[in-house]
């Protein structure tokens, strides 16, 4: 980008429009962070995962720029297990796998266990867990809606709170 600025140009532009109040956007750090996240973890990436657990794992893995192999190594799980968690709808990982995954992705163990169905739910727990629920896809789609994307992002945030 080459710009040619001389005194004549500057004088003329400032005479046309005084830039004493020049400002735009005012975007907050949190909004910018969401914006950046959306580029790294695109809605179509999220659509590829078939379960809530799969979407969460894929979201956090992409955010940390990890490959499946890298996550598998970090969590001492096999590549096949990570792939199954991320892509299969009815795959039920072992409790050990959930705990290793939670540690590797810096998520709350208890909350990830609950998301995966490992916590015995009494009536209160069921009510509590409803905040984790969102419309699951019945068939594979290319992308997810803004609402679904936001729901996954919010879910990841809840799971990230260390408890």
């Amino acid at each position: 980008m080459k710009l040619k600025i001389d005194k004549e140009w500057l004088d003329r532009k400032l005479a046309q429009a005084d830039d004493a109040q020049a400002a735009a956007g005012g975007t907050s750090f949190d909004d910018l962070k969401k914006n950046v996240e959306r580029r790294i973890v695109t809605p179509s990436v999220i659509a590829a995962a078939q379960s809530e657990l799969g979407k969460v794992v894929r979201f956090v893995r992409e955010k940390k720029s990890m490959s499946r192999r890298e996550l598998a190594d970090l969590a001492t799980l096999s590549d096949e297990e990570i792939e199954a968690i991320e892509t299969r709808r009815d795959y039920m990982p072992s409790l050990r796998a959930i705990i290793y995954l939670a540690d590797a992705l810096e998520l709350s163990r208890d909350r990830l266990k609950e998301l995966s169905g490992y916590v015995t739910r009494n009536s209160n727990a069921t009510e509590h867990s409803s905040e984790y629920k969102f419309a699951a896809n019945s068939k594979p789609v290319d992308t997810v809606s803004d609402e679904e994307y936001e729901a996954i992002r919010a879910l990841v945030e809840v799971l990230s709170e260390k408890k």
Binding site: M1, Q21, A22, G25, V36
Partner: protein, 202 residues
């Protein structure tokens, strides 16, 4: 990070001074801006309080440049531009070059360079400092962003949300006002067409 020479107007003397236009600022410059601007603003506030003068309500002073640059500086679609003069950061701009599309009917759907943030140092704001130090910071940054849009093949197309007090400036420069945007705190959205871009750079 590259630098090129530009000019700013020194308000008090009425003359022009040499300045650097920086293409892609790094974390060092972002930190220098954040520290310099916050310290200046806090000092000005304290002085106003001591002198029992009212202090203006700024539309935007939670810049957080260091944090914002830290999450974007490695990403290609977030170029930044800055102006430095006499060792101080005079103004900064954060752009997005991907994922934003024109809204004016004649160019709807074509990619635009989107101005995510544009701010000048508080000592260049007449409400804070009288007289302000430099003029031309916003003008040079906007012309640079428009030139970048031309370089990218976007023909100068540019979009932005103006803060309320800046609307007059954008309108005088010939940007098209597309009205309040409920998705962006009801800020007015402005856009530049290729013709308007040529007039702005010329």
């Amino acid at each position: 990070m590259t630098r090129q020479k530009v000019l700013l107007r020194h308000v008090e003397s009425g003359g022009v001074v040499d300045a650097d236009l920086i293409d892609r600022i790094d974390l060092v410059i972002a930190k220098r801006a954040e520290d310099g601007w916050q310290t200046y603003l806090a000092t000005a506030r304290a002085e106003a309080l001591a002198a029992k003068r009212p202090f203006p309500d700024l539309e935007h002073d939670h810049w957080e440049w260091e944090r914002k640059v830290s999450i974007t500086h490695r990403l290609l679609p977030y170029p930044t531009l800055g102006i430095e003069c006499e060792g101080q950061v005079q103004g900064l701009m954060l752009l997005e070059t991907d994922g934003h599309f024109a809204r004016i009917a004649t160019q709807a759907g074509s990619p635009v360079v989107y101005v995510n943030l544009l701010a000048t140092a508080p000592w260049n704001l007449p409400a804070v400092t009288d007289p302000p130090r430099y003029r031309g910071v916003g003008t040079v940054l906007l012309a640079a962003a428009t030139t970048l849009s031309v370089d990218l093949g976007f023909k100068g197309r540019l979009g932005l949300h103006s803060l309320p007090r800046s609307e007059d400036w954008y309108e005088r420069l010939g940007l098209t006002n597309l009205g309040s945007d409920s998705n962006k705190q009801n800020l007015k959205y402005y856009e530049l067409t290729p013709d308007q871009a040529q007039n702005l750079i010329r």
